[in-house]
Amino acid sequence: MTETVFFYCFAALAVAGAILTVTMRNAVHCAISLIASLGGVAGLYLMLHAEFLFAVQIVLYIGGIMVLFLFVIMLVNLEAAARERQFHRSWVGGLLCAGGTGAMLAWFWLRGAGTLRLPPAVQPTPREGGNVESLAMVLFRDYLVPFELASLLLLVAIVGGVMMAKKRI
């Protein structure tokens, strides 16, 4: 019961934030709505016992990426853009495409729910410690190479960001 109520609250926050992100005129308002949406999804992560990803969502997405977005919005002058038309000429077609995709996914889910055979949940070894410990065990044992590749990707992103934003190298 309580979990259902919390699910509805967080889901409403996430969906309302997402809708406002798409419809708001001012880019700063869009960013703040997106922060609300990300916060709602972070609450859902907490309900799914993904405590580490909850923290990462708050620190990395809301604290890192969204602040970067807000910086860029402040750096570029969007006053003229806010006064113009916000939506594309063929917005009806765009909405139809997106809605059709959603209807198709939901239809597949509703019709095919019975055929979705999930493997039985593996019973992990009795967890000493919480989510972070079990995550670290898997990350540093089974996914070590992707982890190192991710650090390489971040290095490329740093170099790329500096190259793009600097006037003269």
């Binding site: 999804v41 859902l44 990350l139 990707l153």
Partner: protein, 110 residues
Amino acid sequence: MPDLAQLLAAEVPLSWYLILSVILFVIGAAGFLIRRNIITVFMCIELMLNAVNLSFIAFSHKLKMVDGHIYSFFVMVVAAAEAAVGLAIILTVFKNRETLEIDEVSSLKL
């Protein structure tokens, strides 16, 4: 007073999370298609990535494995790298063209 652990044990079914994920993804996709401001389009991409992360974690919770957490962690890392490079590109575009309208920035269009 009922036991809190007992109250929290009532599970929200997996399908609700998946439907919510579809809704968020569709809103993001719609915004990606219809908005004209590059920065807002970029935010809609983040919205879509986030929706997919939610379905990863819902499945991961259902299967009691942490592999889904790892995948969505990597998605977040890639999103951070993408945001850094993308926002630098946006800044460069704005410096060169003084506009952020998608229709104005169409040199690559055939």
